[in-house]
Structure formats: C-alpha cells, structure tokens
Amino acid sequence: MISTLIWNALPGPALVRVLILLVVIAAVVFALFEYVFPWVSEALNVQETTVEET
C-alpha cells in the first residue's frame, strides 16, 4: 500500500507524522488551486465566453 509506505517512511511519533502530512497536503492543494487547476480549466475549454474565429 502506498499510504502505508508513506506512513512508515515518515519520522517521529504519530502526532508528528500527522502534522507533516497536513502540511504536505496543504502545500499540494495550494499548488493545485493556484497553478494546476487554472491551467487545466483553460485547457478543457468549458468556460469560454468569447466569440472568435477558429
């Protein structure tokens, strides 16, 4: 299991591991919201509002 591997790879007691995970998850979500999702949304082209020549 990937989740087990990650959990075992983390150092320290359970509380520290949970904190590390939370920080990592927050960083990943931030990167997704600010960089990845805007790019995906534009690439998907489902929110276009303009008329243009193709």
Partner: protein
C-alpha cells in the same frame, strides 16, 4: 488516514499488522484502489475549486481593482440608493451629448482597467472593472469583464464589445438572462459616463464573430451607430454557445457633474 480499500488477503492496512510480514507489501489491486481514490479526491477538489474558489477569488480581486481606481466614486461602489431626496446629484440634461464625440482616450494597454460597468438591473452595488483584452488567463479570469481588442472604445462610433464569465470567476455576467429591452448599461471611464440601453439579445455559435463587428451582425459595413455588445457563455457552465446582448447608445456626459439618473432608477 487509514489505508483504503482492503483487499481480500490484507485485513485493513494498519502499520502494526505489517510489522509481522516485515514491511508493507504492494498489492496491485490495493495500489490501484489507492490511485482511484486519489483521482476521485482530485476531481472533487477541482470541482470545488472551479465552482466556489474561483468565484470567491474573482469577486475579491475585481472589488480590489474597482477600489484601486481613484476616479471611481465610492458612493457608486457602495450602491447609490433610489432614495431621490437623499441620493447623489444627477447629470443635468445640458451636459448630455449624443452626436458629439466623447473625449478621446488613449487606447488602453493589454490588461489595463480603463472603465467600470454598472447595470442597475443587476443591483445598485453592481460595479465591475472593464479591462483590455479577452484572454482568460490574463483578463477574464483575474479581472472580470474584458474588452475585445480592436473594437470601439466607450462612446465611439462602432461596437464597444465586451465579454465576461457567466459562472465562476466572480461571474460578472451571471444574470445576463434577466436583462430586458431598455435596461440601462452604464460605463464610466476617467473622463466620462456612457449610457447605453439593451436592445436585443441572441444565442449564437462560438465562431460567429460578426456579433462584435463594428456594425453588429453586418461585417464589413462601416459603422454609423455607437453600439455596445456583451458576450458570455451559454448555457451556463458550458461553452457550447454564446449569449450575446446588443445595446444602443443614449448619451455620454463628462464626469464630475453627478451620476447618470439611470443609475439611481430601480428597474421595474
């Protein structure tokens, strides 16, 4: 975060259980299940981001843009009330011009916010920035309403063509379907107010660029009117078609002499 989707062999995925067989074993089905769960979480996050986060972010960003324009009257932003006795001064008739060209403004740079838009039908506090360009990453997503490059500027003879999101990213044109014939569309720049009114609307294919031609829907015909055209998506949350609103010019007036009376009128 406990291990998801236990397989038939591995009962649960808690670390102590694995200490016995000397570390975690990777089972194909288990990893596949984890990846599927991850994909589900990512899709869910994307929907949350698109539907809610971009909206909150866009609304805040557009408000900040309006607040940063020093020529915007803060009373207008807060919402001028219909209370006529107490309301702001309105522009006198002798300062309204219809057939005279408005003050010449420098053509705005790409992404420059050069105007604000007010639509009484959409609420007395509806004030949105209008910026140059219609690309999503630079203008429509972060700044709200965008002006089609090369189309007329406010009050000029030709077609002042603008575009905005109908959903998400602060959704400046969200209530476009509520507009009725005669509803005022008010544009303010640093030097002047421009009052237009809604004349018609239509639903077109995304490639029908003739709707923003200088004479709307008659490409190649030299313009004689001062028009406005708004484009947004249709149906909502889709890019299949475009909702297009055409408007005609009422008058322009220099700033500094009150607000257009149309701004304080409550649409029926």
């Amino acid at each position: 975060m406990s291990a998801p989707a236990p397989t038939s062999q591995a009962a649960g995925g808690r670390p102590p259980a694995h200490a016995v067989d000397g570390g975690a074993r990777l089972s194909v089905i288990g990893v596949l299940g984890e990846l599927l769960i991850l994909a589900g979480v990512l899709l869910g996050l994307f929907v949350l981001w698109q539907l809610f986060y971009t909206d909150i972010q866009g609304e805040r960003a557009q408000q900040e843009v309006v607040d940063s324009l020093e020529w915007v009257d803060s009373d207008v932003v807060a919402g001028v009330s219909a209370d006529a006795s107490n309301g702001p001064e309105t522009i006198p008739d002798d300062l309204k011009y219809l057939d005279v060209d408005p003050p010449v403004m420098d053509y705005p740079d790409f992404t420059e916010t050069f105007a604000t838009m007010m639509v009484p039908r959409w609420g007395e506090d509806y004030v949105k920035p209008v910026s140059e360009g219609v690309t999503r990453a630079d203008v429509l997503d972060p700044l709200g309403i965008g002006h089609y490059p090369g189309t007329a500027l406010p009050g000029e003879i030709g077609n002042f063509a603008i575009s905005g999101h109908r959903t998400t990213y602060g959704k400046p044109f969200n209530a476009v379907a509520d507009l009725q014939v005669g509803d005022s569309l008010i544009i303010q720049t640093e030097d002047a107010w421009f009052v237009y009114h809604v004349e018609s609307w239509e639903i077109v294919q995304p490639t029908q660029v003739e709707v923003i031609a200088p004479t709307p829907n008659e490409p190649g015909v030299a313009p004689t009117e001062r028009s406005i055209t708004m484009t947004t998506c249709h149906p909502m949350f889709s890019a299949a078609e475009r909702w297009v609103v055409h408007g005609a010019f009422d008058y322009w007036a220099p700033t500094g002499h009150g607000v257009p009376e149309e701004l304080v009128e409550v649409p029926a």
